[in-house]
C-alpha cells in the first residue's frame, strides 16, 4: 500500500551523493580522471534535482476509514471541527 515512488532514489539520497562528491573533490587529491567522472556525476544529479523541483504539483489525497485512498474532497469551510 506504500506509494510506488518510494523505489526511485529520493531527493535526500541524491543530495547526499552530491555532498559526498563535493567533499571528495574539494578535499584530498583525487586522480584527474576520477575528478572528471565525479564532476559529471555531480552535475547530472544537480540537473535531476532541479528537474524534480519543476515537476507538476504533488497530489492531495484523502486516506479513508477503510484504509483506501482517494482524491481529497476538501471542503474549505470556516467551521472548525465538526
Amino acid at each position: 500500500m506504500v506509494s510506488e515512488d518510494r523505489q526511485q532514489p529520493g531527493f535526500e539520497e541524491m543530495l547526499e551523493r552530491v555532498e559526498e562528491i563535493l567533499y571528495r573533490m574539494e578535499g584530498a587529491e583525487v586522480p584527474l580522471d576520477e575528478s572528471l567522472a565525479l564532476f559529471e556525476e555531480g552535475v547530472g544529479l544537480l540537473r535531476q534535482l532541479e528537474g524534480r523541483m519543476s515537476e507538476a504539483e504533488g497530489r492531495v489525497r484523502e486516506l479513508l476509514d477503510d484504509g483506501g485512498i482517494g482524491d481529497a474532497a476538501i471542503r474549505m469551510d470556516e467551521r472548525e471541527g465538526e
Binding site: G10, F11, M25, L49, G58, V60, R61, L63, D65, G81
Partner: protein, 414 residues
Amino acid sequence: MTLDLFSAVEVPGQARSESSPATSVARDPTPDPVVAEPGALTVSEVNGIVRDLIESGLPPVWVAGEISNFTRARSGHCYFSLRDDQAQIRCVLWRDDARRLPTEPAEGMEVRVFGEATLYERRGDFQLVVRRVEAEGEGLWKLAVDRLREKLTAEGLIDPTRRRPLPRFPRCVGVVTSLHGAAFRDILTVIRRRAPWTEIVVSGCRVQGEGAADDIVCALDRLAAWGGADVVVVGRGGGSIEDLWAFNEEPVARAIARFPVPVVSAVGHETDVTVADLVADLRAPTPSAAAEAVVPDREGIRRALAGAEDRLRRALERRWTGLAERVRRQRGELAACGARRLQRDRSRTAAAAGRLQALSPLGVLARGYAIAQTPDGATLRAVRDFAPGRDFNLRVSDGRVSARTLSVVEEEAE
C-alpha cells in the same frame, strides 16, 4: 400533598386509634410498613416531604468550597465532601457528568460546583447532586495536564532525546486534522508555495467535542498502517482549553509517541501547549509554521543547488590548474635545464674551437708561416723537395705566391 401534621391521616381500612395524634405510638407488634400509624407519617413520607422542601427551597446553585475525600466508585459515580471552615456537605457526581471532568480534583482543592441540593430519600441523606465542577483559573484542566505529563515523563515519552529529526525532503506529508478547518487549508497553502512537488495525504478526524480523542487516534493509526508518509503534521486551529482538550488526552499522546515516522504537532495558537505537543518530535506554534517546518523551501534549494554547481566547477578547475601548474613548472624546469646544458656546451665548443683554431693551418699561416706547395698542391717540407730553378707556390694567410728555388742550404739536424 396537602399537609396537616396535627390531624390524623386517614388510610382506607385502617381503624382509627383512640389516642391523640401527638402521642400515638404503634402498639401493633407487626406493623404494616406501608401503612402509617394513625397520626404518624411513614419514613418515606417524611423523606419525601423534606426532599420537596429542599428542592423547592433551594434551586440549583453554584457552591464554592474545598474538596475532601473525592472517590470514584467502580460504577463510575463520584462521591466527595465539599467544605468550608464551618460546615460540610456530602456531594455526588453521577458517572455521565463525571466523564466530563478533565481529571479528579485533588484533596483540598478549591472548587466551585454546580448542583442541586436534595435528600436522598432511600437513606435520608442530605446531599448535593453535582453536575459540574470547576477549579479556579482552569485549575482542573491544568491539574489533568500536569498529571498526564508526570505519568508520561515517568515512562520516558517526554524525553527530548526521543525526538526524531525531520526528513529534509519528504516525498509525502501526512496530515491529521479536520478536513473542514482552517488548519488544513493553511497547511496546504504553505506546502504548495514552498515545495509544490510534495504529495499530501490527509487522514481526517474531528478535533473537538465528545469522542474527538478517539477519532484522532484512529486517524493516526490509519495513517501509520498505510505507511506512505515520510512525516506527519497533527493539529488544529485555535480555541478554548476545552476545544483543544482532545490533544491533552492520554490516548492521543500515546498514538503520537508510537507513530513510526516523525510527528509535528500544531495545536492552537502560539501560547497553547498541549500534551500532544510534549510527546511530538517537534512542536509548531501554528499549523502554518508546522508546514514550513516539514517541507524545504524551493528557492532555498535552488540557491543551494546553484552553489553546489559552482563549487563543483571550481573544484574541478583547481584540479586542472593544479595540473597545468605542474606542467608549466615542469616545462620551466626542463627549459632551464636545457639552457644550462646549452651554456655548458657552448663554452666547451668555444674552447674546443679555440684549440682547433690554434691547431689549424689557417691559424699557423696567420702567425706568419707560409706553406710551400707544388702546383698540384702537395706540400714541400724539406730541402730535398726543392730543386734549384724549380717553380713552387707559397701559400700565405691570405693567398698564394708563385716562387722559384734559387738555391738550398740544408741545416744540420739538432
